[in-house]
């Protein structure tokens, strides 16, 4: 008899978050349990098995995208739990928050086109030996949406080299056949980077939105394996 799935999850909610409910639906579908919705002003985060920092426009993107949220009281707790190995997923604005608070290297700058980009993009999965990506195949091309103004991933050359050497690039913008080219890059990101892991592999930030194509009703399910993989990993 298998033991009951007691894994619990949390979604951090900032003023201006707007993908928190979408990601909660995806998490509940995958784990069978509704996540804790944790308001940013709290100083306590329950001990959970997975934390999601959702998309949106926390604090109206004032100063820099994610800069205010990164200094919210609750982020100290998120950083502490990440340090203990708890998986942390930052999507879109969540990715921006995770770079601003130092959990992930680099920064998301204004899109090179200066335009807000909202469309489905093709992405190549670069690594599948992580709790986030193990239900994808290495090199698999998936199609999920981006919706951002500041998704242009940048870092200095030494950090970029370290990211590549340590295999910390999770996903890259690509052509439908998986090849990398400038035309497939919606925002000017270095090396077509759409998502990166931390060195330990338990923190992932990504600009595309897996929760927006995670149910047939939404028109596609390419985002769903990320949530099923996480649900399996934290239930194990």
């Amino acid at each position: 008899m298998s033991r009951p799935n007691r894994a619990s999850t949390a979604v951090i909610v900032f003023p201006g978050s707007n993908c928190d409910r979408d990601v909660a639906v995806s998490l509940e579908a995958a784990t069978g349990h509704a996540p804790h919705m944790v308001w940013h002003a709290g100083r306590e985060l329950p001990d959970v098995d997975l934390i999601v920092v959702p998309g949106g426009f926390s604090y109206g993107d004032y100063l820099r995208s994610g800069a205010m949220a990164a200094n919210s009281p609750i982020m100290r707790e998120v950083i502490a739990q990440a340090g203990r190995g708890v998986p942390v997923l930052g999507i879109c604005n969540g990715f921006q928050v995770l770079t601003e608070c130092g959990l992930l290297p680099g920064v998301l700058m204004r899109n090179a086109s200066l335009k807000f980009v909202c469309r489905d993009v093709d992405l190549r999965v670069e690594r599948t030996d992580t709790v986030f990506t193990r239900d994808y195949a290495e090199g698999q091309v998936i199609r999920i949406p981006v919706a951002h103004h500041d998704g242009n991933y940048f870092t200095d050359p030494d950090t970029l080299k370290a990211l590549e050497d340590n295999r910390q690039v999770a996903i890259r913008y690509c052509a439908p056949d998986g090849s990398l080219d400038g035309a497939s890059n919606p925002n000017g990101s270095l090396a077509n980077i759409a998502g990166v892991f931390n060195a330990a592999g338990n923190v992932l930030g990504m600009m595309p939105h897996p929760e927006r194509l995670a149910d047939p009703l939404l028109g596609g399910t390419d985002g769903a394996p990320m949530f099923t993989a996480l649900a399996e990993a934290i239930a194990a």
Binding site: L63, R64, A67, N71, T99, E100, G106, V107, M109, R110, N111, A112, S113, L114, F154, T155, D156, G188
Partner: protein, 80 residues
């Protein structure tokens, strides 16, 4: 007293907004513009005190919040 903080993109970091402004200036007929870089200017009103200590304090603010030192440089002036 007042602190004036300038935040600018580091050399070598592409500045598409600066490029767009440059382009617009050329479109308006302003010749001889070699380059445009866009940044931020922040004024902070401070309780009166030692200027050197204030400068150190505002520099700490820049490191922790006002600038992202991955891509930005900052400079601080204190008006006594």
């Amino acid at each position: 007293m007042k602190a004036r903080v300038h935040i600018t993109l580091k050399n070598g970091v592409l500045d598409p907004q600066g490029k767009a402004i440059h382009h617009a200036l050329e479109g308006l007929g302003f010749d001889g513009v070699d380059d445009v870089r866009q940044g931020k200017y922040i004024e902070i009103a401070l309780a009166d005190g030692d200027a050197a200590a204030a400068k150190a304090r505002v520099s700490e603010m820049c490191e922790k919040l006002l600038a992202n030192t991955v891509i930005e440089d900052y400079s601080v002036e204190i008006d006594g």
